[in-house]
Symmetry: C3
Subunit: 262 residues, 3 copies
Amino acid sequence: MQPDLLSDAVALRLLDHLHTRSPLVHCLTNDVVTTFTANVLLALNASPAMVVDPDEAAQFSAVADALLINLGTLTHPQREAMRAAIHSARQHATPWTLDPVAVGALSLRTDFAHEIVALSPAAIRGNASEIRALAGESTGGRGVDTTDSVHDALNAAVALARQSGAVVAVTGEVDYITDGTHTLAVSGGDALMTRVVGTGCALSAVVAACCALPGDRLENVAGACWIMKRAGSQAMSSATGPGSFASAFLDALYGLHREVAA
Amino acid sequence: MQPDLLSDAVALRLLDHLHTRSPLVHCLTNDVVTTFTANVLLALNASPAMVVDPDEAAQFSAVADALLINLGTLTHPQREAMRAAIHSARQHATPWTLDPVAVGALSLRTDFAHEIVALSPAAIRGNASEIRALAGESTGGRGVDTTDSVHDALNAAVALARQSGAVVAVTGEVDYITDGTHTLAVSGGDALMTRVVGTGCALSAVVAACCALPGDRLENVAGACWIMKRAGSQAMSSATGPGSFASAFLDALYGLHREVAA
Amino acid sequence: MQPDLLSDAVALRLLDHLHTRSPLVHCLTNDVVTTFTANVLLALNASPAMVVDPDEAAQFSAVADALLINLGTLTHPQREAMRAAIHSARQHATPWTLDPVAVGALSLRTDFAHEIVALSPAAIRGNASEIRALAGESTGGRGVDTTDSVHDALNAAVALARQSGAVVAVTGEVDYITDGTHTLAVSGGDALMTRVVGTGCALSAVVAACCALPGDRLENVAGACWIMKRAGSQAMSSATGPGSFASAFLDALYGLHREVAA
């Protein structure tokens, strides 16, 4: 399968929609990346909110525009909140996105990911090891890092998209985004992004936000990947290390709409 | 009611006190803003500490100079720690400040906020929707954002101050601070502050710190608002987006005492 | 006891090992510093992971290269995860490091620290008050700050090292690192580091990472202190306050290997 490249016109349309609609994204995510995830969404004019009590999470997913489920620091209580939020999201036709952090290597999250992948996620975003594990392949992932190549995981992504009905993004040096029939590829970014915690998790939050926008879902998810890679490439031009990169990356996201529109 | 403007002399006195007394602020706050809240307090030479176990929270509020209760990611276990900390604070005459994040829209926090607002908070800091909801008005708040204007919430703030005995700050483009009889106004800052997560929550922590300082409480709470707006305005002069703004904002807070004193 | 200074050659060897081995550090740490801790480890090419469920924490400590236990926001559920992770680490000969945040002042963490210090930590890193309290001396610590001088705590550090078998680092303006027989001293850094939350906690994570590397453990722990102080001194040359310092500090850590090797 030869993936197509995403056109800049699609990405510009997405940035327009993010700025005019400011989707409210309910993030049930891991403890390490909450701040960065919120700041990434705010930089794109989306509205993040983290509501974590099970009853409140269900209330909130009913009014939010999108829901993100990230398994990075899963606990038993958080699992209850996630179940409640997903069920409420489905009742209210709120699209939800799964980030299966470190699935495959650890049992609680792996079992839970297999449980909820059956609940019609709109999108799934992970690295090669995570996507292969979620598709049922055995993998060599070690914790949150991936030891698999993105391209080798493309078949798993296609299979997972067909099983789950979700748009699946397997991301790394090149991102592949597939609905099981068509596949898009997005390249760019910089290796320095892997030295800043939360860039992948924040991408999943942007994927969740873009699933709430009008247009083709496959293109929207690919557009989320494009936005993050473009901002990463821009941030590199002024960064001297991961500290200045993180700051420049948020600035680049914030200015991207104006820059792409120009 | 025509609010008075806060004088720079009052703000300078507060900055002096923050630097010489370094108040120890016990923060029971939400998961998304812990780091930024601690860094804001540290930049002002205050001492933040987050002690979250119910027994330890009660021990710690007995020795801290101030307590902050922020409901942003409230859970049932956190509610127990907050109750314990508030009761200990009251026994030891430690002033406590309430940030009623998203109260009105969600049930657990709304019920809990109504319960604890009866426990004599020294100050309450929220946006227009939150203050109106806590005062018993119905509101249009959507999650953590506000859809109400600050000025329209001033009557609710006055009523809430009279009911609770707290100094109430309703903040936005202009901040209004009232004890139910007198009202102060603070303007300044920059819209970019709304694109950085935690600026409002960190303001509440500075309010808590200033409630531990000598002087008039109404002026002290208004002074906390003044400090954050002044640093925000300064940070704008060097920022190119929310990433560089957050960094410049902490630098501005750190240098504010010397700059205002000069 | 006259401590020796750590040689730059030892620090360079450590930086080499961090870059080639990229140790996987399982961090059970406090809520306030997770992001900064992860970013500090990533800047040094180590691999952080926070796995917090008790069952998963035990699984993960079996495959990680090192484990960090930081008591800053200890709760009863987190205590269970920590116990499970420590026992798994010991079964798999994974070295574990203790950061006894605010031990002495608060009961849950003090009791727990005394319990686990008997479980053969590889290293212990704390400020003067914390090390004195853990060694059984009464102290004047107020929360997470220390009111004791580092040098006065050196006897306590030596005693604690002999009791526990751990390398003990008591850190402040000068860091002392002792195995109970030999003591090393590391100076440098900048007072601005105390105005950025998590610099001490992140040092403990680097200590944990260095305990997984080949070489003498006493030198490795001292090398971790050296790395952080050197990066702090470098960051000061470009920082104008704690915001820009935090960013420059991560950049300095990232560039340190190349700079020291040159």
